[in-house]
Each structure stands twice: as structure tokens, then as C-alpha cells.
């Protein structure tokens, strides 16, 4: 990025900090409501407390993959194509994978108490596991080396295929006979309701998970931007460092090169090829 194109931030730093603090506060409130205020229920006992985390995790994962799909469509349409849509899709998919994995873990704990098994090949569970596998594949595809535009187009198509599993997961309990229960609450069915404490717990869980997702998305999206810059400009840094070692002047503008291995997969940074 050159000096003539200063970076703009859609959400100012203070806004992101406020969002993070709100997410933290909502999380604390949800935990207190779930573990202290809410009592055990007649049918599910202590395990009903998982209502605060399990359904919100699953729903926010749907939202995350929905954002990935929407951003992928916007990337594929030539009129709206921008690299930022690809970065947003990647960022949201990664968070969606974390939320889906946590949905499976908390669901497994809940399932063990009610069904007596940690896992069963129930339609809802299988579709959810498939969703996780599909988006893990999507994230792997993003790491396959290719020209930037080709990689982004390829990933956008893969995301649109993977997201088709979201309605399958959601409607699995209606389409098939499943061990997993259907919806807990319904606006049209008066027999499907929660008591006030569980209703508040569920609401707090949704608020907390949504805020956490929003905060993570902004942070992860910015990270995608930094990674993209480092891919392009990291080689310049490494060359300048070598030139400085040899007592030479730094090079000119950054060449559009891809320093393979400049970013280690562990999350730590290396200083480009030696």
C-alpha cells in the first residue's frame, strides 16, 4: 500500500474496543444466568443449563457461514468484485468453524446425559459434522497456493457449495426422525415455551455469542488484510534487511511477490526467506 492510498477503517478502534467489552460483559452475564440464576429443569436436570451456550453457538455459526456465502456471491459478481469480500468470507468462515466445533462439543455433552452416548449418527448431528468438514475443507482450500484471483474465485464457489448444508442441518429434525429434539421454543406453538429464567438465559447466550462473533469478525478481517499485505510486502522487508547487512541502500517500491513460507502456519512470524 502506498502513501497515496491511506487505509480507512469502517469501525474505529474505540468502537471495536467497546464491542469487545460489551461481548465480555454479555458473556459474564450469560455465565452467571446459566450457572447461578437458572435452576435445573424437571426433564433435563442440570443439563438444561447448556441451553445458554449450545443453541446460540449453533445459530451464530449459521450466521457466520451465511456471511461467508454472501461475501462470496459479492466477490463472484463482476460488478461488486473486490478482494475485501474474499477476505471477509475467509474471516467469517474461520469463526464459523470454531463455533461449529463448539456446538458439536457442547451438544455431545448434552447428548451424553439425555441419550446415554457421546455421539450417534443422527441426521442433525451428521449434517452438523458434515458442515464442519466442508468448511474445514474450505479453509484448507484458501491455503492452497494459487494466483490471488483464481484462489478467491475457487474459494467463493466452494463456500457456496458448502453453505448448502446449513438448511439441511437446520431442518434435519423436521425432515427426518431424529434423536435430536426439534425447536425448543415456538412463537406459534404455546406448548413450546420456556420459563422466564431459561428464556433470559437463552437470550443472554444469543446476545453474548453474537457480540463475540461481531468482535472476532472485525479483528479477523483486519488480520486477513495484514496477512495479505505481508504476503506482498514481506519480501521487501527481508531484502532490505539483507541489504542493510551488506551495507547497501534499501530497495525501491515493494515488488508484488509471494514470499513462500514467510508466514509460518503456527501463527508466529518468520522474517522471510533467508
Amino acid at each position: 500500500m502506498s502513501a497515496s492510498t491511506p487505509r480507512r477503517r469502517a469501525v474505529p478502534r474505540r468502537g471495536v474496543t467497546a464491542l469487545g467489552l460489551a461481548a465480555l460483559a454479555a458473556s459474564v452475564a450469560a455465565i452467571v444466568q446459566g450457572l447461578v440464576v437458572m435452576g435445573p429443569t424437571e426433564n433435563q436436570g442440570e443439563y438444561s443449563r447448556l441451553l445458554v451456550v449450545h443453541p446460540p453457538l449453533a445459530t451464530v455459526a449459521y450466521v457466520a457461514f451465511g456471511v461467508t456465502a454472501l461475501a462470496s456471491v459479492l466477490y463472484l459478481v463482476p460488478r461488486t468484485r473486490r478482494p475485501s469480500w474474499d477476505r471477509l468470507a475467509g474471516a467469517s468462515a474461520e469463526i464459523g468453524v470454531v463455533f461449529t466445533a463448539l456446538t458439536l462439543v457442547t451438544g455431545s455433552i448434552w447428548g451424553h446425559s439425555t441419550w446415554g452416548v457421546w455421539w450417534t449418527w443422527d441426521a442433525r448431528l451428521t449434517a452438523e459434522a458434515l458442515l464442519l468438514a466442508l468448511f474445514l475443507g474450505y479453509l484448507a482450500l484458501r491455503r492452497v497456493p494459487a494466483e490471488e484471483g483464481v484462489r478467491a474465485r475457487r474459494c467463493a464457489i466452494a463456500a457456496l457449495i458448502a453453505v448448502l448444508d446449513v438448511p439441511v442441518v437446520h431442518y434435519a429434525t423436521s425432515w427426518w426422525r431424529t434423536l435430536h429434539q426439534g425447536s425448543t421454543i415456538s412463537l406459534t406453538r404455546p406448548d413450546k415455551h420456556l420459563d422466564a429464567a431459561h428464556g433470559v438465559g437463552l437470550l443472554l447466550g444469543f446476545v453474548a455469542m453474537t457480540l463475540i462473533y461481531a468482535w472476532l469478525l472485525i479483528r479477523r478481517y483486519r488480520l486477513e488484510g495484514l496477512e495479505s499485505r505481508y504476503e506482498h510486502e514481506g519480501l521487501t522487508l527481508a531484502l532490505d534487511a539483507r541489504r542493510a547487512e551488506g551495507g547497501l541502500a534499501p530497495a525501491g517500491p515493494a515488488p508484488a511477490a509471494d514470499p513462500v513460507g514467510a508466514l509460518s502456519p503456527s501463527g508466529s512470524l518468520t522474517r522471510g526467506p533467508a
Binding site: A3, L35, Y47, L102, V105, W110, R220, E227, Y230, G234
Partner: protein
Amino acid sequence: MNDVLVGYGITFGVLALYAARVLRRGRALRRALEPIDVADGEADP
């Protein structure tokens, strides 16, 4: 109740670890890109 606590612990623990990883990686990349930003006059004040 123990299983429930484990469920809450895993959920919020994993989310906290993931958030920390994103922040740490962002800071490392910003530090690595700092020389270019300074050269471009774009460094944060």
C-alpha cells in the same frame, strides 16, 4: 453439574484462546510491517 461446567469451560475457554491468537498474530504482523508503514508515512501515531 460437572459436565455442564466442562461445557461452559470449553466454550468460553476456546473462544478466549482463539481471540488471543487473533490478537497476537495481528500484533506480530503490524510489528513486521511497521518499517514499510514508517517509510510510507502511515505509521500509527
